[in-house]
Symmetry: C2
Subunit: 154 residues, 2 copies
DNA sequence: TCAGAAAGATCAGTGCACCGATGAAACGAA
DNA sequence: TTCGTTTCATCGGTGCACTGATCTTTCTGA
């Protein structure tokens, strides 16, 4: 009997955390638009005309996933995709009017949802929580492929 | 330009956190066995002979997902599934010898991986981090369906 | 005892997430 | 200018995750 207590495993808690978030999102924000879809819309509100790969980079989705998410948003008429006349490899993405309206509506609901999500923590704890998540995620992200760090002598 | 900074969204950070964990898991623990699969093996080491639904409850997987995960583990010969002679609705699950060996090997590697995952935090911060994740996840979990709470007068 | 409710499992459908391989366009150096 | 490399996108395959519908077995109360 060498079983481990999963409650001591950060990865297990991270998964449960995301499930909890998914639950709140679908009940409080939208059953149509998912959280990653909102992230894509949001990225394109901030920087219209990005290409697909860059959008993925901004929101933390790999090339395949971002392609699927974008395809869904286009199918629903929230996004437009046109070939870049300057560079035929890429497609430029921007929101349709409907996409802009949808994004605006969701922004409000998302803020409300985040309040509920973090309700069990007081203000100090929330700040700490966000900081810790960010640091852990960033650190692991940095281990991706040992890309030559900036500033290293060549 | 009503875009939001995703770094202030706990749900977005939770997703990135899980991606970071997935990355570390596949490189440091196993490319064959996933973290949810390990969770199922672990639950059955602790309590052999559980049925599928209960396993899902223990590890936080819904009925459909747990069925798929278990099917994969059976296909790889790590798990056995026999109809309960007492109750024909359920199947009893237990690890094969190979399953026990696999679980044992992964336990060591998992512990090492957790160290790396939490490396950016000091000991105090780790404890706080786990506590905060647990509290947020538990709270949202409690909102599932407003099941009549225990101790409520009938 | 026997009909309806409850419980365990399966199936179909959708969506996120990753990897490796492939194809097409663009860039750069010989 | 042309050939090799890089870059963007797509495709195929696998796996997690949730919902709603269905099927079978069991349980329970009239």
């Amino acid at each position: 009997m060498a079983a481990v207590d999963l409650a001591t495993h950060p990865g297990h808690l991270a998964r449960r955390l995301q499930q909890a978030h998914h639950l709140l999102w679908t009940t409080m924000v939208s059953e149509e638009i998912t959280s990653p879809q909102f992230a894509v819309l949001n990225a394109l509100v901030a920087e219209p005309g990005l290409d697909q790969r860059t959008v993925g980079e901004r929101v933390g989705l790999d090339r395949s996933t971002v392609a699927e998410v974008i395809a869904r948003l286009i199918r629903r008429g929230l996004l437009d995709k046109v070939r870049d006349p300057q560079d035929g490899r890429r497609f430029l993405l921007r929101l349709t009017d409907d996409g802009v309206r949808t994004h605006r509506g969701l922004t409000v609901r998302t803020a409300r949802m985040n309040q509920i999500f973090l309700a069990p923590l007081d203000a100090d704890e929330r700040a700490v929580f966000m900081d810790l998540m960010r640091r852990v995620a960033d650190a692991a992200e940095g281990l991706r492929d040992p890309r030559p760090a900036l500033g290293v002598p060549h």
